[in-house]
Each structure stands twice: as structure tokens, then as C-alpha cells.
């Protein structure tokens, strides 16, 4: 199969492109800078440039769409331009080019309305209730994508939850930096049960969606490792793998009482890329339960995660040269 992967310079996009190459597919990637994926044809350019999109989809059989503006703050118009308009344009270009399979990579946050999720189903994307520009525009783009599903082009939405792995700058690096500075707090005793996804598993699920598109067309599926753990335990293991001291296990009770805003203050502050490392949205993600019912996902994709949490943390430690 000839597959276009957008956003391949990111950790997950790169992993998806590499996996597809490994599986013998012809892979073209589209992103702002070079993807660095061996064996793939690189197209560099913007999602917002229609000419680039036309070039990128030409002669392809399938599209895996990961490119998005992922950030916690920023100009809402910019989010809309990249995530909504960009997706709409890509869908149009794909249709024109006669593409038969389209895997839209989304996020569970599109259906997240701030309540604890306990063994939850995927739920419909809801832009009105989604929190922050990222989640809102991702919700809109998912609705666009699934709306484009028809007899000629099969579209599915895959929502991996909290993807992490070696080389992860979004979560792992930030957690380690904060822990290194001795300022990694735990909310509500760190007991919130949270699902995460090791990057290789997210990639293999997306690849599975490509193959099993007939089973999942028109659907949105949450993908996780299926091993929910208390957030305190996850952060501690991340720190151990990174060779830095773990989070303080007890937080003064006033922190708990002021949870919402206090967290934001805790997480805000200077860091390298100039953007507040976490907003209330992510703080909520990390302090209330977020775990999902994976039965339908696994059945429809005929897929199970290959890398367990234990194995994932071992690989992370290996990446940092830490013996655990």
C-alpha cells in the first residue's frame, strides 16, 4: 500500500511512518521539517498550503493524518487554521486524488468534559464542551473527518491516550525537568487512575486501523495500553526511568483544596520552549481518572498492545542509560 503520513516529525508520526516502512509499505511523509524516517519519501511543507497537499496525496492509496498544532496555549485562530481548515483541505485533496483509506489521528480529549472517566467508552466528539483550543479544534476536525466517510473513502478516527516513549518531549521530558527541579507535585495523593499508551502500541494500532478500515470506518476508537495505573505511580516510574528523584508523595492538604488553580500555578513557570508547560486541562488529565474500555477497540482492530508498561519503562530507562 502507498501511504501518506502527515506529521511524521513528531514522536508518534515518526513511529507510524517507520512501522509502515518496516511492514513493506511505500511511505511518503508530510511535515514542516525533515521527518528523519528511513526509507520514506519526505515532502516538507505546511498543512495549510493546498498545493503541497495536492502533491502529497498524489498516487497514494491511503492517508494517516497526524499533523496538528499540539500546544496548550496560543492563538485560537492558528489552532483553527491548522487543525480544522488543514484537515478539511487534506480530506478534500484526498478525495480528489481517489484515496480509499483515511485514518484520522485524534485525541480522547475531544470528548472530555472535565469529569472522571472510569472504564469509559469513546464517546462522541463535542467541540462545545471540549477544553481549550487544542481539544476544541481537534473535536471539530474529527467530526469533519468522520463526516467524510463514504463508499469511496473510508475514514476512521483513532484516539491514542497520553502517548509516551523514548524521545518524548511533550510529557516525559517535562515531567523529568520538573522532578529534577524538585517541583513535581502529586494531586489528590496521586491516586487518579490513568490510562497511557506506549508509543509503539499507538503506532501499531494506527497501522491496524489502516488494514482493518472496513471494520472501523465511521468510528472513533480510543487506544491505550489497557493498563491503567495511578498517576503517582506512573510519574514515579517515569522519573525512575529518567534517573531523577520521584515526585513527593504527599502534598499539603491546601494544595488539594485549591486543586484547579493551584495546579496551574505549579505547572506554569519558565521552561525552554517558552510556553506554559501545562494548563488546567492537562492538570485535570493528570489528577482525575481517565481510563477506557478497550474491548471494542481490540476486537475491531484485531489488535493488542505488544509493549507492556513494564517493558515500556525498561525501554525508557534504556534510552536514558539508567539501570532499573
Amino acid at each position: 500500500m502507498k501511504v501518506l503520513v502527515t506529521g511524521a516529525s513528531g514522536m508518534l508520526g515518526g513511529a507510524v511512518a517507520s512501522l509502515l516502512v518496516q511492514n513493506g509499505h511505500t511511505v511518503r511523509t508530510l511535515q514542516r521539517r525533515s521527518s528523519g524516517v528511513l526509507g520514506a519519501e519526505d515532502v516538507t511543507g505546511q498543512l495549510t498550503d493546498r498545493r503541497t497537499l495536492e502533491t502529497a496525496v498524489a498516487d497514494m492509496d491511503a492517508v494517516v493524518h497526524l499533523a496538528a498544532k499540539v500546544s496548550f496555549t496560543g492563538d485560537p485562530a492558528e489552532f483553527h487554521r491548522v487543525n480544522v481548515t488543514g484537515t478539511a483541505d487534506l480530506l478534500r485533496a484526498a478525495r480528489t486524488a481517489g484515496i480509499g483509506r483515511f485514518v484520522h489521528v485524534s485525541s480522547p480529549s475531544v470528548a472530555h468534559i472535565g469529569k472522571p472517566l472510569v472504564g469509559a467508552a469513546a464517546g462522541p466528539a463535542d467541540p462545545r464542551q471540549a477544553r481549550g483550543s487544542y481539544a476544541r479544534t481537534k473535536a471539530e476536525s474529527e467530526i469533519l473527518a468522520l463526516g467524510a466517510n463514504d463508499d469511496r473513502m473510508s475514514v476512521t478516527a483513532i484516539r491514542p491516550h497520553i502517548v509516551w516513549g523514548p524521545g518524548d518531549t511533550q510529557l516525559v521530558e517535562r515531567v523529568l525537568n520538573r522532578a529534577r527541579a524538585g517541583r513535581l507535585p502529586l494531586l489528590a495523593g496521586g491516586t487518579a487512575l490513568v490510562d497511557t499508551t506506549y508509543v509503539d502500541n499507538a503506532a501499531s494500532a494506527i497501522a491496524a486501523a489502516l488494514h482493518r478500515i472496513d471494520h472501523v470506518r465511521g468510528l472513533a476508537l480510543v487506544v491505550t495500553n489497557g493498563e491503567p495505573r495511578p498517576i503517582g505511580e506512573l510519574l514515579a516510574r517515569m522519573c525512575a526511568a529518567g534517573g531523577v528523584p520521584g515526585p513527593r508523595m504527599s502534598v499539603p492538604s491546601w494544595v488539594g483544596r485549591l486543586a484547579g488553580s493551584a495546579v496551574e500555578t505549579f505547572w506554569r513557570g519558565s521552561n525552554a520552549d517558552g510556553e506554559p508547560p501545562m494548563t488546567r486541562f492537562l492538570a485535570e488529565q493528570l489528577s482525575t481518572a481517565h481510563w477506557f474500555d478497550q474491548r471494542q477497540t481490540r476486537k475491531l482492530l484485531d489488535w493488542t498492545p505488544e509493549v507492556s508498561l513494564d517493558e515500556g519503562f525498561a525501554r525508557l530507562a534504556d534510552h536514558y542509560g539508567v539501570a532499573i
Binding site: V118, L193, P230, E233, S308
Partner: protein, 862 residues
């Protein structure tokens, strides 16, 4: 009619009905509204349920019955009585007799034919009974929900009704305002949804529309002078001869139609099947699903006769040994003794004295009105008085009600109230509680109660007076298959249930115990565990109650135990794990004489709760020659299996097929059989009973000493006996190749993860083997079928409120369980246990804590 939630618009119908009621002028035609599910029935109609609502509801009350009826092929016709619902407001004051005639007129006009099942609620219950009693030839069955047919002239009518009838309040409360309507709707448990409340109010929007509510209240026959009183009394008497099947579904939290009224109805219709929905109130049709039980019941009762064809074998009454020994060579030897604080016998009776005292007390109780079938609540601590009381009641055929303080004040009160005892015999503390909680029953005081306190506590008789009467009881022994006792479950899973035993079943329990422990008449035992105090004399064994606060087992000291053993040269000891734990803790205080007495013990039975093996191991040196037995059983079947310490050690090393994953409780006791009903993928025990080793499922028991039924819990009884001939225990486990049973937990505590079903006991045992762990509970949280598995651990030290386990403990626990499936390991300072035994971990409560903590919404304080 407007569209209403739960009602198919096709059911709503109107009918013009010519009236023959006395209150209507000749030629009157009244327009009725009613609901009829006939349009929804596809196939053949099996019969018709005629549903009559009370005040101030309307046919809407029966919508769940209409819906279910359509599915089961039963036509359900629910009328709006005249002046009520959407039926005519005639403006005439209808009395009870009119309303029954009204119903006759409606049925005639509607052309409804038999077979008929009447269904009634509230005052509609009375109307429906009046109709049933007049239409016997068409009548198939009678179903009643919270209603009443008789007001005991000796007791006041319920306070809320007195208030509603008060002249000043009456009109204001019933028709001028919606107070009566609102109050009734507010009785629903749980609260009614807004649209349902609105539906109930729909026909009663104006004061004119509510006039019927006012008149209905006015028609309550409060006394003999009331115009409807004669009709009510006539119906109340005539239903005694109704011989069709009767089902009563009751909400015991009803402030008006309490258990007292239910009990009165049962006395008039003693063959009735009864289910009390614990926690449900007046609007029982709203509070619980009554429709499913109704059609299940109709299937059972209306189709075939219940034949209990089993030919009963010969049996001897429970007091057989008392009678035999009192007439034999052992007549003057010690039968029963109470120990004093000084280590010597404080009081005792020989077999002859025991027999004579039981007989004289039976006669005295009979004189004051205790007869066959009377329920007598006994709230007397174990000892001679209680033993004599128990056997006297049993001899009379009275039913003893044994609810203990271990249920907690609320549970105890619920239990006593629910059994509606006719007599309540108690020590002062119990009588005070009876007064406080308003328990029913004629009061008889046991032990010292001053005359003043006695008057204050409503004491009518004193046990010591009754005991001093001289006549012997010469009545015949009660029928072996009549009710003998109601015992209560510990309520560790839901509200405590009353368990009914017949005389035959009690005798079977005695015989099973004798065979299991090889206790021959003439042996001697220490009864450190209350229920067995009752069985000592039945076994023909001399029994002694040690000096302890028997309501608190942990007060039994080693000294008190050894003194008691020495006093009668005991060879057998019965005690609970809590008592044994304290015996062990106080072992240093035993005298030399006591030590010698303990060395003579041959059998020690630890009963009432699971006993940790380590406790038995530590206990063995104290009773070096005793075989330490620990039976497995439940209030519904005591005992089911038995195992001793040696066999426990053996089982731990066993490698036979099926061994492991659970607590080995040994092989079935003589006369008992065990089968397993395998679990399906959803955790439902749906398998055919099997004895195959290694199959996990619900444990089924068959034995002559299994309970007769649950008390007034028809639905629960039906579920527990749905496999004919077997009692479904609600416990989960498996058998091994040597026919030993391994218990894996409660059915209610199964964990259904995405990987399959997990039972808690196996992993809990693995965790509890860790050094720094005292206890552990393994529970599932989240939606069934995709639950996350959580271990909540009580470490030996250093834990507070529920929180994440330290990393080292967490990984040790994960390793112990031997899998990656534990989502979280939490610690807590103390796991919740049941009140009665302080031994069974309340996993449901643990799961709630864990779920709250793992939601991340802060911590619930355990």
C-alpha cells in the same frame, strides 16, 4: 390523556359504565378511564390482572405491570377509580361498598372475563379484596401491595393518617392544597423523577379535581361508628376462606401500612407468598421492580400446584435427648451450667431439672398466650435461662426469633420489626431498645428489672414468675415440618435476611453436628459460641457457658475457658475466632488445674467466621490433645463442610487437580452434598450443577439441615432455590479431585475484567503471605466486563487514610499476585469488617473507597 413516561398511549381508554352503586341515582352512567395493555399483546392471553390503585394515585401506578404483562401474555387492566385519575367526578360521596360495586360494574361493562387476578395497593387493596371475595368463581389469584384490611381497635391508627383526618387539616391538606398528594409522592425511595411526579399530578391539577382525594380519606373507617366499618369488617373476615394463591409485595418503610398490617393480612391468608423489599416504602411499585416477580410468581403458582412430594423420614424432636436422659440413669447428672466470675459453677440443672423446667415454662407461656405459630423474639444472653426458654418455645410449636446485637442497632431493629414478634422476651437493655425503637410484641422481662422500670418498659410478665408456675406442659409435640426458628444472616452482603428452619431441619442440624464431631450423648462441652449453647442439650451433652460477655466474643479469657472446662470435665469446646484470639492473648493466666482441663479437650470447634490458620497453629499448644475443627457454613446451612488443622496443612501442600486458589474448607459433612454452578463470561452462575474438579462457580448445597426458606422474601427464596433441590449459597468456589471445597469469595464480589473473571480470595491469600501485610482485599472498580483490579492492603504498620502504597510494597504485592493485572495497590489503616464477627472483610465497602480514591476526586475517609 396526555402522553406520559412509561405508558403506551394505546393503553389509555375510556368506557361508559352503567352504575348499580347505591350512592348513584338509577340510570346513572359514569365515564371511566383505564389503562389496558391488550393492544400490546401479540399471542394468546393467559388471563387478566385487574389493578386497583389507592389514594391519591391512579392507574399510572401500574404501568410497569402493564408493560411486563404484555411481554408475558397477561392482559392487565388498571382502572382509575371514580372521582380519581381521569375518571368521572360524580360529586357523590362514595363509600367502600359503592366502590366495590363500581368495580363490579366496570368489569361487567368492559366484558373482562376470568381467569382474573386482582392486584391492589393502599385502599385499592381493600376494594380489590372486596371484589375478589365476591367473584370467587373467576378468581385465579390475589396480589396485594402495601395495604390494610383491619385496624386493631386496641392500637391507634398511624399518626400521619390521624393528621390527615383532623377536621381542620383534612380539607386543606387533601383538596384545597396538594399536600396529601405531595406527601404521598415524596414517600418514594429513591425519589421519583420529575416527569413521573408530574404524571401522578396530571389528573389532580385543581381543587375540584382533588375532591375525590378528600372523600377517599374521609372514607377511612377509623372506628366502629364509621359507615364503611361494617363492610370493611365483613371483607376482613370473608377473605379468610379465600383459597386461591396470594402474593404480597411490601415496602416495609411505609409510615402508614407497616409490617403490623402485613402481619394481620398474613394471618388471614396464611398460605400467602410474601416478599418484603427492604428499604422500599409505600409506593413499592415505584421503589422496586414488582412486575418481574409478579409474572414469575404467576408462572409458578397459577400454572401448577407446588408439590413437596418428598416423603419425610422419621425424626426426633430437638429435645429428644433432654426427655430421654431425664428419664434414664443420667437423670440426676449435670445437664447445663453457668459459670460465675469466681471460676466456679454459679448455677446448674440436672437433666431431670432441665426437662421439668422446660415443661413448666412451656405451660406458663402457653397460659399467657404463646401457642403454635406464635413468634417469640428472644433477647436473652446465652445461659440456662435462654436454653430453657428456647426449648419451652420449641415444645409449644412457637417460632423463636433470634436476632443478635451483632447486626448493629439499625439492622437489629429492622430484623425485629420485620418479623413482627408476638412476644418479646428480653433483659432490661433489650426491653429499653424495644421501647425506643417501638418493636412490637408483648414484653416479658428476663433477669432483674425493677417494678418501676418494668412498668415504664411495658413489661407484662416476668420470666421468674412464669418459671415459678407449677404445671407441666402436656401438649403434643409440634409437627416436624412446622416452623421452629427464624435466624438472621449477618448482613455482610445487603440487609440481614431472616432464615426459617422447621423442627425437622433443626433436628437434622443436630444430627449432622453429632456425626461430624462424633459427639455422643454423655459428652461434655463448653459453649463459648452462642448458637451452639442451644445445641448442647439437644446433643445430650452436658454444656457449660463460660463467664464472659457473650455478646462480645472477644471477652472470653483463657482462664474463664479453662475454668469452665474443668468444672464439667469437658472434652469439647465451641468458640468463635474472636474468642479464641483473646484466649490466646490471655493464655498466661491459666491455672494448673485449668491447664490439666485444657489437656483433656479432644475437639475444639472454631465457628462463626473464617479462622486464620496461624491462629489455629498458635492455639494448638494450649489444647495439645485437641483436634482443631473449623467448619464452613452459613446461616442457611450449618455446617456444610469441615476441616481440621492437620487437613489444612495437608491441603496447603496438595497438588491434586483443582487444589489451590482459595481457602480449603474441607469435604462435605455427613449428609451434605456440594455442587458447583459454573460462571459464564459475565460472571453469572448459569452452569448446570457439577462436581467436576477445578470448575469455578457458585457453591450449591443440598442437605437435610438446609433452611426451609427465607422469611417473607419470596423473590430471594426463589433465586436461592432456583436449582430445584439445591440451596445457592452466593459463595463462589470450586471442588478438587479429593472432593474438597475451595472457597474463592462471594458472588457479589466477583471481578469482571476485560481479561475474564477473577475471584478475590486467591490473590488476597497470596498478598497476605507477605511479611508486612495484615489483611488485604482485592476488588474490581469500573464498569462490569472491563473492571480494573485493585488491591487494598492493610499493612502491619504505618498506614493512614486510603492512599497509594509505597513503591516497595506495591511491587511486592504485584509480584505476590503474579500478574500484571493489578491496576493499583492502595493502603489503608483498617479494612472494614462485618459487625457480627469482625472477620469478614466488607469488599463492597472497600470497592467504594477504592473507586473514590482512584477517581482522583480527593479521598473518602474510610
Amino acid at each position: 390523556m396526555v402522553e406520559l413516561p412509561g405508558v403506551d398511549p394505546a393503553w389509555s381508554a375510556y368506557l361508559n359504565v352503567p352504575s348499580t352503586a347505591g350512592v348513584d341515582p338509577q340510570g346513572t352512567v359514569n365515564r371511566w378511564h383505564y389503562l389496558d395493555n391488550l393492544p400490546s399483546i401479540a399471542g394468546e392471553v393467559r388471563g387478566t390482572l385487574l389493578c386497583v390503585h389507592g389514594n391519591p394515585t391512579w392507574s399510572y401506578l401500574w404501568r410497569s405491570v402493564l408493560a411486563a404483562g404484555a411481554r408475558h401474555g397477561w392482559r392487565v387492566v388498571a382502572v382509575d377509580q371514580l372521582e380519581m385519575g381521569f375518571s368521572d367526578r360524580t360529586g357523590r360521596k362514595r363509600q367502600l361498598a359503592d366502590r366495590i360495586t363500581d368495580l363490579d360494574d366496570f368489569v361487567a361493562a368492559a366484558g373482562v372475563r376470568g381467569p382474573l387476578v386482582t392486584v391492589g395497593h393502599d385502599w385499592g387493596g381493600v376494594v380489590s379484596l372486596g371484589f375478589a371475595e365476591r367473584n370467587r368463581s373467576d378468581l385465579l389469584a390475589v396480589i396485594l401491595t402495601n395495604t390494610a384490611i383491619h385496624q386493631d381497635p386496641g392500637s391507634p391508627i398511624p399518626a400521619p393518617l390521624r393528621l390527615a383526618l383532623n377536621g381542620a387539616i383534612h380539607r386543606l391538606g387533601t383538596s384545597t392544597t396538594t399536600a396529601f398528594l405531595d406527601t404521598t409522592l415524596a414517600l418514594a425511595r429513591p425519589r421519583l423523577a420529575g416527569d413521573v411526579r408530574a404524571a401522578y399530578r396530571a389528573p389532580y391539577r385543581t381543587a375540584d379535581r382533588r375532591r375525590g382525594i378528600e372523600q377517599f380519606v374521609a372514607d377511612i373507617p377509623v372506628g366502629p361508628g364509621h359507615p364503611s366499618h361494617a363492610e370493611l369488617t365483613r371483607i376482613a373476615e370473608s377473605i379468610r376462606t379465600l383459597d386461591v394463591p396470594v402474593l404480597m409485595l411490601w415496602g416495609p418503610r411505609d409510615p402508614i401500612f407497616s409490617d403490623t398490617y402485613l402481619d394481620d393480612l398474613i394471618r388471614r391468608l396464611p398460605h400467602a407468598d410474601v416478599h418484603r423489599f427492604e428499604g422500599a416504602s409505600h409506593l413499592v411499585a415505584e421503589d422496586r421492580d414488582i412486575a418481574a416477580p409478579i409474572f414469575d410468581w404467576l408462572n409458578v403458582r397459577a400454572s401448577s400446584d407446588d408439590d413437596e412430594s418428598e416423603a419425610p423420614g422419621a425424626t426426633t424432636p430437638l429435645w429428644h435427648q433432654i426427655r430421654e436422659r431425664s428419664r434414664g440413669p443420667a437423670a440426676q447428672t449435670l445437664a447445663i451450667a453457668d459459670m460465675g466470675q469466681d471460676g466456679s459453677v454459679a448455677a446448674s440443672l440436672s437433666w431431670q431439672e432441665l426437662d421439668s423446667r422446660v415443661s413448666r415454662l412451656a405451660a406458663a407461656l402457653n397460659r399467657i398466650g404463646v401457642t403454635a405459630g406464635s413468634r417469640v423474639s428472644l433477647m436473652v444472653p446465652p445461659g440456662i435461662d435462654l436454653t430453657v426458654l428456647i426449648y419451652a418455645c420449641l415444645k409449644l410449636g412457637a417460632v423463636i426469633v433470634v436476632a443478635d446485637a451483632g447486626l448493629g442497632p439499625k439492622g437489629l431493629s429492622r430484623a425485629v420489626r420485620g418479623t413482627v414478634p408476638n412476644f418479646l422476651i428480653g433483659i432490661e437493655r433489650a426491653l429499653a431498645a424495644a421501647r425506643l425503637f417501638g418493636w412490637p410484641g408483648v414484653r416479658i422481662s428476663a433477669g432483674a428489672v425493677s417494678p418501676l422500670r418494668g412498668r415504664l418498659l411495658d413489661v407484662r410478665y416476668r420470666l421468674e414468675d412464669l418459671l415459678s408456675e407449677g404445671n407441666a406442659y402436656d401438649g403434643a409435640d409440634p409437627d416436624a415440618d412446622s416452623d421452629a426458628a427464624i435466624l438472621f444472616t449477618s448482613g455482610s452482603t445487603g440487609p440481614a435476611k431472616g432464615v426459617v428452619y422447621t423442627h425437622r431441619q433443626l433436628s437434622a442440624m443436630r444430627d449432622t453436628l453429632a456425626a461430624t464431631l462424633q459427639l455422643a450423648p454423655g459428652s461434655a462441652l463448653v459453649a463459648g459460641f452462642a448458637p451452639f449453647a442451644l445445641l448442647g442439650p439437644a446433643l445430650g451433652a452436658a454444656s457449660v457457658t463460660p463467664d464472659m460477655d457473650v455478646t462480645a466474643p472477644r471477652t472470653l479469657t483463657a482462664r474463664a475457658l479453662s475454668d469452665a472446662a474443668a468444672a464439667i470435665d469437658a472434652t469439647t469446646v465451641f468458640a468463635s475466632p474472636a474468642a479464641l484470639r483473646n484466649v490466646l492473648a490471655t493464655a498466661a493466666d491459666v491455672s494448673d488445674r485449668g491447664k490439666a482441663a485444657l489437656e483433656r479437650i479432644e475437639v475444639l470447634l472454631s465457628a462463626g467466621a473464617p479462622v486464620p490458620v496461624t491462629l489455629l497453629e498458635h492455639l494448638q499448644p494450649l489444647v495439645p490433645n485437641a483436634v482443631l475443627h473449623t467448619p464452613y457454613g452459613m446461616t442457611e446451612a450449618l455446617p456444610v463442610t469441615d476441616i481440621d488443622l492437620g487437613q489444612i496443612r495437608e491441603s496447603a501442600a496438595s497438588t491434586c487437580s483443582g487444589a489451590g486458589n482459595g481457602v480449603c474448607v474441607g469435604a462435605p459433612v455427613p449428609g451434605a452434598e456440594i455442587r458447583i454452578s459454573a460462571l459464564d463470561r459475565d460472571g453469572v452462575a448459569s452452569g448446570e450443577p457439577t462436581a467436576e474438579p477445578g470448575v469455578t462457580g457458585e457453591i450449591l448445597v443440598r442437605a437435610p439441615h438446609v433452611k426451609d426458606r427465607y422469611f417473607r422474601l419470596w423473590v430471594t427464596e426463589r433465586e436461592s432455590s432456583r436449582t430445584a433441590g439445591w440451596h445457592r449459597t452466593g459463595d463462589v468456589g470450586h471442588l478438587d479431585a479429593q472432593e474438597r471445597l475451595w472457597v474463592e469469595g462471594r458472588l457479589a464480589h466477583l471481578i469482571t475484567s476485560a481479561d475474564g473473571i477473577l475471584t478475590p480470595v486467591g490473590p488476597e491469600q497470596a498478598i497476605e503471605r507477605l511479611d508486612d501485610v495484615r489483611q488485604a482485599a482485592v476488588v474490581g472498580i469500573g464498569p462490569a466486563g472491563t473492571q480494573a483490579v485493585v488491591a487494598v492492603v492493610e499493612p502491619a504498620h504505618g498506614a493512614g487514610a486510603i492512599s497509594l502504597a509505597p513503591t516497595t510494597l506495591a511491587s511486592a504485592v504485584r509480584q505476590a499476585v503474579g500478574s500484571e493485572q493489578l491496576a493499583a495497590v492502595l493502603t489503608v489503616s483498617a479494612l472494614p469488617t462485618d459487625i457480627r464477627h469482625n472477620a469478614k472483610i466488607d469488599r463492597s465497602a472497600v470497592a467504594e473507597w477504592a473507586a473514590a480514591a482512584l477517581e482522583g476526586r480527593g479521598r473518602k475517609r474510610p
